[in-house]
């Protein structure tokens, strides 16, 4: 009987049902699009903030038992690809090893020489990972060309180039007679402006420190720090430690690098890591509230449509009641109707909302926000909840109608 009533209701009042369905899909479209954008904004902002450069720095661990070996670093270049084997390997967007040295120019002056990767393909064992300062220090500007990592060509810092009167394409003569080909002039706003920046392999050869690295800058996607993140892993046990290790906090990634790379001591670059954490938390908070606004909006839109739809059917309710339908039977019928409408409207809303969020992703982030089919059950559930919540007061009012009064008025 109930099913027949339900079927007849949809069959006979197609226009009315269409309107209610449109309202629900509108509400759910907004909700889906906002949730998708909100879901993405944290990640996108995190990526955007990576233009701040490295947020972790790996240094040789200092022996606590005695004075450190004075003959250079304990970090080995050949160990670095192990970083891409840690649990959070995918969060490591790039790394750039650095080796400091000095070289004497033909004018007799000693100038700092920095060895690093520019854009080097590194074999991590299962893939080729392209990394270097182009990933970790995206604000570096080069007039001319970037040198190849397997060449003996160099970049000269802007200040040094001005004082030596160098231009890209010229050569730089060292005291020992070697000529270095200058591919480009580098401006960074930092110490590198006064230095010669060269491929790491070349500096290792000049400095007679094969395979050696002084520090490694790492750019990683991290989760904003909270109280849990700041706890010392040494004080944790079993499941708590596991939970800590399974969150991509800066500290967790640092600890995993320490475990993977022999002799490494990884720290946060606090200027970047701390400040970006606060920023991300605040932006996430803002967009969460906007999502709540969208949810309320969806609820209001659906609620208004449903209550209008139910109010229009006072007569029908009056007849049902006078024929002996109980309040709960009427409420059940309307609730079932609402659920059917919610499922249809929710499905349509999810589809249009996903399309809309893709458009938004293209125009805001220049990348597609991939629709997540995983969200479908949640959207449908939200749709049913929102529709039932929106219809609740109308259904309650409907079962309170005095059938005689309603029927007489027409």
């Amino acid at each position: 009987m109930l099913l027949r009533l339900l079927y007849q209701s949809f069959h006979r009042q197609q226009r009315r049902k269409l309107l209610a369905c449109a309202a629900i899909s509108l509400g759910l479209t907004v909700l889906t699009a906002t949730v998708a954008v909100n879901n993405d904004i944290g990640d996108r902002m995190n990526l955007e903030l990576r233009s701040l450069g490295a947020n972790l720095v790996v240094r040789p661990a200092v022996e606590t038992s005695g004075p450190a070996a004075s003959d250079g670093p304990v970090l080995r270049e050949s160990n670095l690809p192990k970083m891409k084997h840690i649990f959070w390997a995918h969060n490591i967007l790039g790394y750039a090893p650095v080796l400091f040295s000095t070289t004497t120019l033909s004018n007799g002056k000693a100038e700092p020489l920095i060895g690093t990767y520019f854009q080097k393909p590194v074999n991590t064992g299962d893939a080729i990972f392209i990394t270097g300062v182009s990933k970790t220090n995206p604000w570096w500007r080069v007039k001319g060309n970037w040198p190849a990592d397997d060449s003996d060509h160099v970049l000269v810092g802007a200040d040094l180039a001005t004082s030596l009167n160098l231009a890209p394409g010229q050569s730089l003569r060292l005291q020992n007679g070697t000529e270095l080909h200058v591919d480009g002039i580098l401006s960074t706003g930092g110490d590198e402006d006064h230095a010669i920046v060269a491929p790491l392999a070349m500096v290792q050869r000049i400095a007679h420190r094969p395979d050696a690295v002084d520090q490694v800058f790492v750019s990683a996607l991290t989760k904003p720090e909270d109280d849990f993140a700041r706890r010392d892993p040494r004080t944790m046990s079993g499941p708590v430690l596991e939970r800590w290790m399974c969150s991509p906090y800066a500290n967790t990634i640092a600890r995993q690098i320490d475990l993977a790379v022999p002799g490494a001591s990884t720290q946060q670059v606090r200027r970047v890591a701390q400040s970006e954490g606060i920023l991300l938390r605040d932006v996430d908070g803002l967009f969460l509230m906007v999502t709540i606004a969208a949810l309320l909006t969806a609820m209001l839109a659906v609620g208004a449509a449903m209550s209008a739809a139910i109010m229009e059917r006072q007569q029908e309710i009056g007849i049902m009641r006078s024929l002996g339908a109980t309040n709960s039977a009427i409420a059940l019928l309307f609730a079932l109707e609402a659920i059917v409408l919610a499922l249809i409207g929710g499905g349509i809303g999810f589809a249009t909302g996903s399309l809309l969020s893709q458009q938004l992703g293209m125009s805001v982030f220049q990348t597609v926000i991939t629709p997540r089919p995983l969200l479908i059950p949640f959207v449908l559930l939200a749709s049913v909840a929102v529709t039932l919540a929106g219809s609740w007061s109308a259904i309650r009012r409907a079962v309170r109608f005095d059938p005689a009064a309603v029927l007489r008025s027409h």
């Binding site: 309202a23 509108l26 509400g27 479209t29 907004v30 699009a33 906002t34 954008v37 909100n38 904004i41 996108r44 902002m45 955007e48 903030l49 233009s51 701040l52 450069g53 972790l56 720095v57 200092v62 004075p67 450190a68 220090n137 995206p138 604000w139 500007r141 960074t188 706003g189 110490d191 720290q267 946060q268 670059v269 606090r270 200027r271 970047v272 890591a273 701390q274 400040s275 606060i278 920023l279 605040d282 932006v283 908070g285 803002l286 967009f287 509230m289 906007v290 606004a293 969208a294 909006t297 209001l300 839109a301 208004a304 449509a305 209008a308 809309l356 938004l360 125009s363 805001v364 982030f365």
Partner: protein, 363 residues
């Protein structure tokens, strides 16, 4: 004259007598105004809030002298052009030697100011007049160094000092109070770190003013911060504005549907008036007058509510009060009016061709 009086009576009576359905219409419109004014105000304020957040990253402009150091006049001139929201930290940097002969970069700075400007510094220790980078501190201890020597003058390192952890170049530096370095090492200020407030165009304009006031300075913007800020502010603003548009559009459609169905419910009034000899134009003007009055009231209520919500969101996320933007009010006002107008004109147009007799008969 009589027509005008009649119009006013009709309008006022209609607003007063149909309290229930008018209240519903005003509520719906006020909802629209609330949501859109809250989101719009937040959007207009977002760039400023995000720029303010970026001040946590410390200096965004470094000034260095063209000569050996800045004169006192230069610094006075600089302070005159800085705005009160900017932060300034003067430094005198020297490469000195420790008593074992190791080179060390000494930075004379107002340490209290520097701590405020670089909130990510992690300091441990008691004496805040001597702050030593963690790496340098370790090196000093290894070499048994207790003093720093520059041009024959000595500053001793107290056993009680503060150790600085930052993960950055500061860990290799020794920070002393500016006055100590200036007086003992006779090194005037030779570097100024500025944290200029505002967004990129304002910062560039301020940089121009600084360079013309202090011609002896070279200015170097800190590229990494300026670029990250531009990216985050631009993207964040777009995302919020688009979301605002979508939400406002959906609310507008919902309100439109509700209002137009309530106007259609009044087709009997419409028919009675028409039967009594009212013209179509007169009818529309009465309904529009009603709608305008309700929409204006709703827009004002909604605007005030929206500001309250936006202020609350701003405080709970950015810990600072909202800056009002005048543009939000006219947009909300015009938007609410437009939605109200469309939702009453469209149904009235549909009723236009219908004979009053048909409606009154109950069709």
């Amino acid at each position: 004259m009589a027509g005008k009086d009649m119009y006013r009576v009709l309008l006022v009576r209609s607003l007063l007598l149909r309290k229930g359905s008018n209240l519903a219409a005003v509520t719906a419109l006020a909802m629209l105004a609330t949501v859109s004014s809250a989101l719009l105000t937040l959007s207009f304020d977002l760039s400023a809030k995000l720029s303010q957040e970026f001040r946590r990253f410390g200096a965004n402009v470094i000034l260095t002298p063209k000569g050996a150091s800045f004169s006192v006049d230069d610094l006075v001139a600089l302070r005159k052009v800085l705005s009160p929201a900017d932060a300034e930290s003067d430094e005198s940097r020297v490469v000195a030697r420790t008593n074992s002969g190791q080179p060390v970069l000494v930075v004379g700075v107002n340490l209290q100011q520097a701590e405020r400007m670089n909130p990510w510094w992690r300091l441990s220790g008691a004496n805040r007049d001597v702050v030593i980078g963690a790496e340098e501190d370790r090196r000093l201890a290894e070499n048994g160094d207790t003093a720093i020597i520059f041009k024959g003058k000595t500053i001793s390192i107290p056993a009680v000092h503060t150790v600085l952890h930052s993960g950055g170049p500061e860990e290799k530096q020794v920070f002393l109070q500016l006055t100590d370095v200036e007086n003992t090492f006779a090194q005037p200020v030779n570097r100024v770190e500025l944290s200029l407030s505002g967004q990129a165009p304002e910062i560039i304009a301020e940089l121009q003013r600084i360079l013309s006031a202090v011609p002896s300075a070279n200015a170097q913007p800190v590229q990494q911060i300026m670029e990250a800020e531009a990216g985050v502010v631009g993207r964040g603003l777009h995302a919020l504005l688009y979301t605002t548009l979508i939400i406002a559009f959906a609310v507008a459609l919902g309100v439109l549907a509700t209002l137009s169905s309530s106007i259609l419910d009044r087709r009997r009034d419409f028919a009675v008036m028409k039967a009594l000899g009212s013209t179509q134009g007169r009818l529309i003007s009465i309904f529009l007058g009603e709608t305008t009055a309700m929409a204006l009231l709703a827009a004002l209520i909604g605007y005030v509510n929206g500001l309250g919500i936006a202020e609350w969101i701003s405080r709970s996320n950015f810990h600072s009060s909202l800056d009002l933007h005048w543009l939000a009010l006219p947009i909300v006002l015009v938007g609410t009016l437009a939605v109200a107008m469309v939702s009453s004109v469209v149904p009235l147009m549909r009723l236009q061709g219908i004979e009053p007799a048909l409606i009154l008969k109950g069709e």
